[in-house]
């Protein structure tokens, strides 16, 4: 026959201190709530920022340049091979490629259709770092037509100023049909090419040509074998990574301001939320400590009865298990309350503060529920261990 806990129940918890018990329950609820809310807010921040990232295959690409200050103004502020190798060696950087400039003069014209010509700069970048690379973005020696990837920002800028100069505004599709002429002039000669816009890039604010064309033209027109870039594109998993930003600051590299500011404010926010989470954890620990004092009090008050039960042949393990079981529903209820309030807060945050932004969810993240379950289980196990220890001490 299975032993019945009911028979011995009145022998335990005699004169239990209700106030101390209530305080430990409240403390536990508040602590767990703080902890769960912090985790949920941490996840919210991650999700909000992720949406703004320009990503390709899960990577982010940012451009950096050396900060030009009064101290280094006269010097060569371009990236050397050593600089590039150092960048590539960092664990938080998955790749780096320089944006190579033209060393010769380039004059672009739009032919008879648009009476416009201007000195421009052309640049080349490793294809992997360009967000839009159509298959025809290639060039072979002897090819007269140069494929060009044009910056979306530059097209927008052109459209802003075009009416003032009596020039027609252009959609990206129309711009792609315009035959551009490129006149390249260098110390060693002069050449003319046709150019076609084959794509628009949101990432690179420049006029991009295939790498091999630029290398060939620099050599042909200026006799330069290798050029150094003053801008470098970095491939990274997290452009807001604190270590990355700290490294770039230390090196005196300038990053896209908006992005860096976002990363820094995220770091600050996450710092505050982590602090709040730690505080929550502290409250949980304090509450568990209070609860352990309460348990010690219960065991101390029932000590004579527990001792007699053990003397009569009751197993200390059975007694601990059954005494601990009494608190299982308490822990589950406490965690469920904290979880429900976290859900309510998340819903309110999404609905009233974030106006139902699609990148956030009204429901708590599964990891928050998992943490809640782990906390409940850990509390139950800790509780059982403590009761068992106390009972074996008096046995």
């Amino acid at each position: 026959m299975a032993l019945n806990y009911k028979t011995i129940k009145p022998l335990l918890l005699t004169g239990s201190n209700a106030t101390s018990r209530a305080f430990s329950y409240i403390g536990l609820t508040v602590g767990i709530l703080l902890l769960l809310c912090s985790v949920q807010m941490f996840i919210n921040i991650q999700q909000l920022l992720k949406k703004n990232d320009i990503r390709k295959n899960g990577f982010e690409y940012i451009s950096i340049s050396k900060m030009v200050t009064n101290a280094n103004m006269g010097k060569d502020n371009r990236f050397t091979t050593a600089d590039l190798n150092e960048l590539k060696a960092q664990p938080f950087i998955d790749g780096a490629a320089p944006l190579l400039p033209n060393e010769f003069k380039v004059v672009a014209g739009a032919g008879s259709m648009i009476p416009f010509s201007s000195d421009i700069f052309i640049e080349a970048l490793d294809n992997e770092f360009i967000d839009t690379v159509p298959p025809n973005f290639t060039w072979q020696e002897g090819q007269q037509s140069i494929p060009v990837i044009f910056s979306s920002d530059m097209l927008e800028m052109y459209n802003v100023f075009a009416p003032s100069y009596d020039l027609p505004q252009m959609s990206p599709a129309t711009a792609s049909n315009v035959n551009l002429s490129l006149r390249c002039e260098g110390a060693l000669g002069e050449m003319s090419f046709q150019a076609n816009i084959v794509a628009f890039s949101d990432r690179v604010s420049s006029v991009l040509v295939p790498e091999n064309f630029l290398a060939w033209a620099n050599k042909k027109l200026e006799g330069i074998d290798s050029v150094k870039g003053s801008r470098v594109f970095i491939k990274t998993k997290d452009a807001n990574d604190e270590k990355l930003l700290r490294f770039l600051d230390e090196k005196g590299y300038r990053v896209n301001k908006e992005r860096a500011a976002l990363g820094r404010s995220r770091a600050l926010l996450q710092g505050i939320i982590s602090g709040l989470g730690l505080f929550g954890l502290l409250v949980v620990l304090l509450a568990l400590m209070l609860f352990s004092f309460y348990l010690q009090l219960v065991v101390a008050r029932s000590k004579d009865n527990l001792q007699l039960l053990i003397t009569l042949g009751y197993s200390p393990s059975w007694l601990s298990k059954n005494l601990a079981k009494r608190f299982v529903p308490v822990y589950i209820i406490v965690v469920l309350i904290a979880l429900s309030v976290t859900q309510l807060i998340q819903w309110g945050f999404h609905h009233f503060v974030m106006y139902d932004r699609p990148e956030l969810s009204s429901y708590i993240h599964p990891s928050v529920a998992i943490i809640a379950a782990v906390l409940a289980i850990a509390s139950i196990i800790a509780n059982y261990g403590m009761i068992k220890r106390l009972l074996h001490k008096i046995a």
Partner: protein
């Protein structure tokens, strides 16, 4: 089951006591079914011996074994098993839960390893004259009533050895005889042994061995 007592002497007793004792410092073997009477004057260590045999205290040299188990090697869990199945006891200091009724006290023990149905508890209580006290809290019962309850409590489980430490100290001879008869009947059912420690010889305990402590 056999009980071996080998060279046992409380750590707080002097060695000289061995010379005049038939138990301290001796090798003894008690087998199941034996009726052992231990006569001991006050202060000779009667309660100590019962506590040693029941595993409540360990301040002794020598070994106490139930079959091959040295009880000094048992932990709290091990003792729980022994006390539930093999050894039962009537303490001199009674040890009832004061705030529980006599019946509750008996049920707490009976449920641990029920040898008898609940009806048997009532029958025993009637035989010993405490049936009307079953619903009373233990603390307001007289010592005599409490002692009878403690005797019934010891008989509600299976056992191979029943240890008695001055079990009739609060009973008159007539009630003591009734209690003894009940204990002998219950021991007989289990083919168990009774180890009866008291101040003097008692005629109504049919001992098979008599030892002076």
């Amino acid at each position: 089951m056999q009980l071996h007592i080998q060279q046992v002497l409380p750590t707080y007793f002097e060695e000289t006591i061995k010379a005049r004792s038939e138990i301290w410092g001796k090798d003894l073997l008690f087998s199941k079914g034996e009726m052992i009477k231990i006569v001991a004057p006050s202060g000779s260590g009667k309660t100590s011996l019962v506590h040693f045999l029941y595993g409540l205290r360990k301040e002794y040299n020598g070994t106490i074994r139930y079959d091959n188990t040295n009880i000094k090697d048992l932990n709290a869990e091990g003792f729980a098993g022994f006390r539930k199945n093999n050894i039962s006891v009537v303490f001199q200091d009674l040890r009832l839960f004061p705030e529980q009724t006599i019946l509750e006290n008996l049920e707490i023990k009976r449920e641990l390893n029920p040898y008898h149905p609940q009806e048997k508890v009532l029958e025993m209580a009637e035989r010993l004259g405490i049936a009307s006290r079953l619903d009373r809290k233990a603390r307001i019962c007289s010592y005599g009533e409490q002692q009878r309850a403690v005797i019934i409590r010891a008989l509600l489980q299976p056992f191979d050895f029943l240890l008695l430490d001055e079990p009739f100290s609060h009973l008159d001879t007539e009630n003591a005889k009734k209690a003894m008869a009940l204990m002998l009947e219950e021991a007989e059912k289990r083919k168990a042994s009774i180890v009866f420690a008291d101040l003097e010889r008692i005629d109504y305990f049919p001992h098979t061995r008599l030892l002076h402590l």
